[in-house]
Symmetry: C2
Subunit: 256 residues, 2 copies
Amino acid sequence: MALVLEMDGIVQVFPLRGIPRVKPGDDLLELLTRSLEESGIALQDSDVVVITQKVVSKAEGRIVKIEDVRPRKKARLLAEELGKDPRTVQVILQESKRIVRKGHGVLIMETRHGFVCANAGIDQSNVEEGYLTLLPEDPDRSARRIRRKLEAATGKRLAVVITDTFGRPWRDGQIDVAIGCSGLAPLEDLVGTTDPYGHTLRVTQPAIVDEIASASELVMRKHSLTPAAVVRGLSYKRSDAGVRSIIRERRTDLFK
Amino acid sequence: MALVLEMDGIVQVFPLRGIPRVKPGDDLLELLTRSLEESGIALQDSDVVVITQKVVSKAEGRIVKIEDVRPRKKARLLAEELGKDPRTVQVILQESKRIVRKGHGVLIMETRHGFVCANAGIDQSNVEEGYLTLLPEDPDRSARRIRRKLEAATGKRLAVVITDTFGRPWRDGQIDVAIGCSGLAPLEDLVGTTDPYGHTLRVTQPAIVDEIASASELVMRKHSLTPAAVVRGLSYKRSDAGVRSIIRERRTDLFK
């Protein structure tokens, strides 16, 4: 361990370790509290607690036993077309509003929340054999519940972000993005302000909630059983608008 | 100032302040070195130095005086259709391979590098009145040059990432992404490895170069004349593949 100076403006991302395999009904507050203690982190005002979707989904019981799923005709046809398991496709369809794109063995879906992602966010990694995890029903609500409990337990003003790993068009690889948040405004709105050269910024709205998600992934690698992180040193506007508020309306989206 | 413990696994993002308005021909090494000194940061092995495109473009002379541009017919028609300045549209077309989408006053272009972004990355913010900045001609090469100079000056093994601010489909707001890099592999390749439950990960390739870009934006806000940052505490694979290597091939992209 080495000592470093905490400078004005520095942002730090701490991994939260020691969170065990989560099961339906597990108390996330208890798991987070114990992990914070073990990691030697005392939460401070304005800290952002970031949690991966998988942990939240499992605690909320959003898992499906694959052998219990009865695929319908649409799912069976689609599964055959794409070389996928028909039961998995059945669950993907149930969790979605529509198919955005299909091909190359991939189903890009618009989920019932309005997220556009592969397989409606359903997958088999980091869960017991034979099960699928679904996204939380309302990730903003999940974030709000966790934030309120953490705030009550610590007496600090906090924000909570729930993340998932999404691919994106035009670039290989995935990044973590926010699917739910509470306690911070997802966008920093700079529209109408001026840059140092005097130009009025017309469209600048940094999506800090997604940048926080990506920053956290840098300490939460897939293998290390590190499904949570704390981001410290950010200034942000307090809000409960949620990630829901930055889903682009279909009529103004050129890629819907 | 407060003292904090540097824990194993923590990632820190330091803003680099005190970089003045950059002009064509300015020596970025000199500006970065002075800023590092003023910010009290001594570079360490594995540090990632992140620089915004605007600064690199200006130092490389990638700016255009708007009144010198003669718009052709295609640019004039497109400008009228979208309510844009015909000279700006002329420059956008010159820097692009093709129009990906247009509408709502927006031109989504595929740049000559293969990036898909609004206006081919050309804009008027943070530059003198009457000028446009273009993206660097070869941002990976720009990153490589800066990395080599910084490594020679410090004796440390470093990585350099050049970032820009891109919008994205389906979500409001923008995030910073990498447009050039040197010294680190842009993707961490987990394909074929297993998760803690024993599943083989089939598609997981975290785009750490883009997550580094987004993490850095959290300390480089648009107004603060902070066009650079240092990210410390990451482990990554050394590589000179560049951002170029993660541009998805058109035939495998469902959104081209």
